[in-house]
């Protein structure tokens, strides 16, 4: 493409990309955003489609890369009774899809002093007692856009197996879709955050050298060496840098 300035092959503005899109005769499909029909590119993500429709998203977009859970969305497809769930930034639109973003799922976070809790079932009982209402229906697992074994980590929590909750919920993006769908009204992701903190705080194996290193810094063990490095001119510093050994 001749019009590409050197060094900035991707420096097309959005509008130039739009023009190319039009010229290429992009295939459009119909989706229903909160009930209203819009023509959007067939290849768009749900988030892309909402923006293509001209909406300025305020609630419902955060990282845009699948990490923050801001963009929880529910949808149905034509002729299918199932309610489906997904992250808007990660899920592609389909013909006839009817969708709504659920940018916030009401849920009460328990307030606690992590220093006063024990890493066992008692903490779960005190802070998130609803966990024990689980009827093992598996709906949470089915609705998780990250593909996590949500029901299994809820079961682990009931047993006080904090390590397993930590492990199974590690990739949870707190989108809230599981707790929205749970017939027992459990707040799985909030409980999982508590469990991860309990694990990190109490069940970790302590590092033999970390405390020593922190103490050494506090005692000023490195001060002389810092003073030496900071007094160096650029040249001497550069020499030292390029001569340093590598592990």
């Amino acid at each position: 493409m001749t019009s590409v300035p050197t060094g900035t092959a991707n420096s097309l503005s959005n509008s130039q990309i739009d023009e190319k899109r039009d010229a290429a005769g992009e295939r459009l499909i119909t989706v229903y955003i909160m009930g209203k029909a819009y023509e959007v590119p067939a290849e768009a993500t749900i988030m892309g489609a909402i923006e293509y429709a001209g909406h300025q998203i305020i609630r419902g977009a955060g990282c845009r890369e699948g990490y923050c859970g801001a963009c929880a969305t529910i949808y149905r497809l034509p002729g299918d009774y199932k309610i489906r769930t997904g992250l808007a930034c990660m899920t592609l639109v389909e013909e006839g899809m009817t969708l709504a973003q659920i940018p916030s799922v009401p849920a009460e976070k328990a307030i606690y002093d992590i220093e006063k809790l024990k890493p066992n079932v008692s903490a779960i009982q005190q802070m998130y007692p609803t966990v024990f209402r689980c009827v093992a229906c598996g709906t949470c697992t089915k609705s998780c856009p990250q593909g996590l074994q949500v029901m299994d980590y809820v079961q682990a929590a009931k047993r006080g197996d904090i390590a397993t909750v930590m492990d199974l919920s590690f990739d949870c993006v707190v989108c809230g879709l599981c707790m929205l769908r749970c017939p027992a009204e459990i707040t799985q992701p909030l409980m999982a955050i508590l469990a991860k903190r309990l694990y990190g705080r109490y069940l970790r194996k302590d590092s033999p050298e970390l405390a020593e290193r922190v103490k050494a810094v506090e005692e000023g063990v490195f001060e002389a060496e810092y003073a030496d490095l900071m007094a160096m001119g650029r040249e001497a510093l550069s020499e030292r840098y390029y001569a340093r050994d590598s592990e």
């Binding site: 493409m1 590409v4 050197t6 060094g7 900035t8 092959a9 991707n10 420096s11 097309l12 503005s13 959005n14 509008s15 130039q16 990309i17 739009d18 023009e19 190319k20 290429a24 290849e43 993500t45 892309g48 923006e51 293509y52 001209g54 300025q56 305020i58 955060g62 990282c63 890369e65 699948g66 990490y67 923050c68 307030i111 606690y112 992590i114 930590m166 590690f170 955050i193 991860k196 903190r197 309990l198 694990y199 990190g200 970790r204 194996k205 590092s207 050298e209 970390l210 405390a211 810094v217 490195f222 490095l229 900071m230 510093l237 550069s238 030292r240 840098y241 340093r244 050994d245 592990e247």
Partner: protein, 571 residues
């Protein structure tokens, strides 16, 4: 799936693979690394910062006359949302000890430390939800000198060399000496670090490290840290007041030149609120969503450089705002995920960048700026790029080599997030290469601070990606996660200390009037209104119809972004 027309190029990649696999198995580099001279040349000729129109002198404010990244200069030469005479400063809507602008990693650390060390109350005002921030997204890890073979001074030397010896030494000292303490602080809050069998913290190499120093929480380092910090912040509702969807749009000063709070804009009701604060911290993060030179970005939705412009109008000096970090490997296709980060570790594990003929053209592990420039050169000069249906360019990153080198299943096991990302689009990265291109990643410079996070303005503190000086003109991987922890904590300490003693004078927005006068006097003509708050991704025809409201700035500043793009020459 890749479109049919890419098939021929993909076939060439397969054809050259056996020979390249042989090369990869040998100890020697698969492609000759560049000499110092070659590096200089590729940077000067192809790094986006070196393009003639990449920089321009800014005509107003504390850095007047200095060459800055053009989009940053545009951002600074702009009008405020507010006119001073329209704002009632005599009856502030809120009062607090410490106002923290930005609910990312730096902001949360500061609130916690101010509370613990000084018993200080704070308000965190943030643009989107708490944790909708670059902090949530880091996968790779954080540098900290915790291993037996390492030391904070070795970390110091690595960081300052990586920054081409332009870093402010006292900031690098603070960063590196606080590192081990940060690891412990986070662990005690409940962050689950990756560990070895004996409990020592697992460490890996990153670009430019002489010791293994990268600590991590699987692929979700940032998410783990951010969620832990937020959870702790929310455990203290009586001490830390959270205001979500309430970005700051301007700082408030007092009549003696101190910073005394900010004006917040409620994104839902479109009201403006005044906050009077004894000290104020800017922790607004980076600017990837300015799409500098039209690049896609890895950054979160709200990364629009707001802190820069607010602080600049109030008189704070910026440092190294002429340097932008492009990550060499952002996604170029599928378009839906264009700009997303492909972690450096893919190349670390043996992935090779290839041109459209399936040929190597650069050593895969050059420093970030060099690698990115070489990829741009291959596309722009050598015609080695593959064009995507939407007119982007990319080169192949041959990931199938990884399983061939380390055994079947390795890619899926070690890069699950990456694998998931592509398989949605029918691309199995263990069998097909990825199409990548440099992506706008990090704001190297920012508001100048000292090791106490102080600026030229009494009462104004800055921490995290919004600051300048720590990284020189080139940040190393892992040092910015450490940055927001170290300096977020320091900001809480020093801003908290200051808040206990200061007596504020009469509140004022006179700085907005003088800035406006300076704009007029220097002949700047612009209809740009900042901070930008959010980018717009509406298509052109939609934007045109939105502009019918002529002269008005739409909520969410969607039109503002449009203007920023269209006024630039060559954009």
């Amino acid at each position: 799936m890749y479109p049919d027309y890419m098939e021929e190029s993909l076939r060439k990649v397969v054809q050259t693979r056996p020979a390249r696999l042989e090369l990869a198995r040998k100890p020697d580099p698969v492609y000759p690394p560049m000499s110092a001279e070659e590096r200089r040349k590729v940077l000067e000729d192809f790094h986006p910062d070196f393009k003639p129109d990449a920089l321009r002198p800014v005509s107003v404010g504390p850095n007047k006359g200095e060459k800055l990244t053009t989009e940053v200069a545009d951002l600074l030469e702009s009008h405020s949302w507010l006119r001073s005479e329209q704002v009632d400063l005599d009856h502030p809507d809120f009062e607090t000890d410490l106002l923290i602008i930005g609910g990312g990693g730096a902001g949360c650390n500061a609130a916690l430390v101010a509370m613990q060390q000084h018993g200080i109350r704070s308000m965190i005002a943030t643009k989107l939800r708490m944790g909708d921030a670059n902090t949530m997204m880091s996968q790779g890890g954080m540098q900290a000198a915790v291993s037996r073979t390492d030391s904070p001074t070795k970390h110091y030397l690595d960081a300052i060399g990586g920054g081409h010896f332009e870093n402010k030494p006292e900031l690098v000292k603070a960063l590196t000496e606080d590192g081990p303490g940060v690891v412990k602080w986070l662990e005690d809050l409940g962050v689950v670090w990756d560990k070895e069998e004996d409990g020592s913290i697992q460490v890996r190499h990153g670009g430019g490290t002489s010791r293994k120093r990268m600590v991590s929480c699987r692929d979700y380092t940032g998410a783990m840290i951010m969620r832990t910090l937020m959870d702790e912040v929310r455990n203290h509702p009586d001490m830390i007041d959270i205001k979500e969807f309430m970005p700051a749009v301007e700082l408030i000063m007092d009549d003696e030149g101190r910073c005394a709070g900010a004006i917040l804009y409620d994104m839902d009701s479109e009201e403006f609120f005044t906050v009077k604060a004894k000290s104020t911290l800017i922790a607004t993060g980076g600017y990837g969503r300015l799409h500098i030179r039209g690049f896609d970005t890895t950054n979160h939705y709200g990364a629009t450089g707001d802190g820069l412009v607010m602080a600049y109008r109030a008189g704070a000096k910026l440092m190294y705002m002429d340097s932008v970090q492009y990550h060499p490997t952002g996604v170029s296709f599928p378009e839906q995920i264009a700009g997303f980060l492909v972690t450096e570790a893919i190349r670390g594990a043996g992935g090779q960048p290839l041109n459209k003929d399936g040929e190597l053209f650069v050593f895969p592990r050059e420093p970030r700026d060099i690698e990115a420039s070489a990829i741009i050169r291959e596309c722009a000069q050598n015609g080695g790029g593959v064009e995507t249906p939407s007119g982007r360019f990319g080169v192949w990153l041959d990931s199938p080599l990884i399983d061939m080198l380390h055994g079947e299943g390795y890619t899926e096991k070690h890069f699950p997030a990456m694998y998931r990302q592509f398989i949605r689009y029918g691309i199995d990265i263990a069998k097909l290469p990825m199409l990548i291109y440099p992506s706008l990643h990090y704001q190297n410079g920012g508001i100048e601070i000292n090791e106490r996070c102080e600026t030229d303005i009494p009462g104004l503190y800055v921490a995290g990606e919004a600051t300048g000086g720590l990284h020189g003109r080139n940040r190393l991987m892992g040092n910015s996660v450490l940055d927001y922890n170290v300096f977020g904590r320091r900001a809480g300490k020093y801003a908290g200390e200051y808040a206990k003693t200061v007596k504020l004078g009469k509140l004022s927005l006179a700085h907005l009037d003088s800035y406006e006068k300076e704009l007029a006097a220097s002949g700047v003509k612009t209809d740009l209104v900042t901070p930008i708050l959010l980018p717009s991704y509406a298509p052109k025809d939609v934007k045109k119809r939105q502009l019918v409201r002529g002269g008005n700035v739409l909520p969410g500043a969607s039109v503002v972004h449009n203007r920023l793009h269209d006024e630039r020459s060559g954009a």
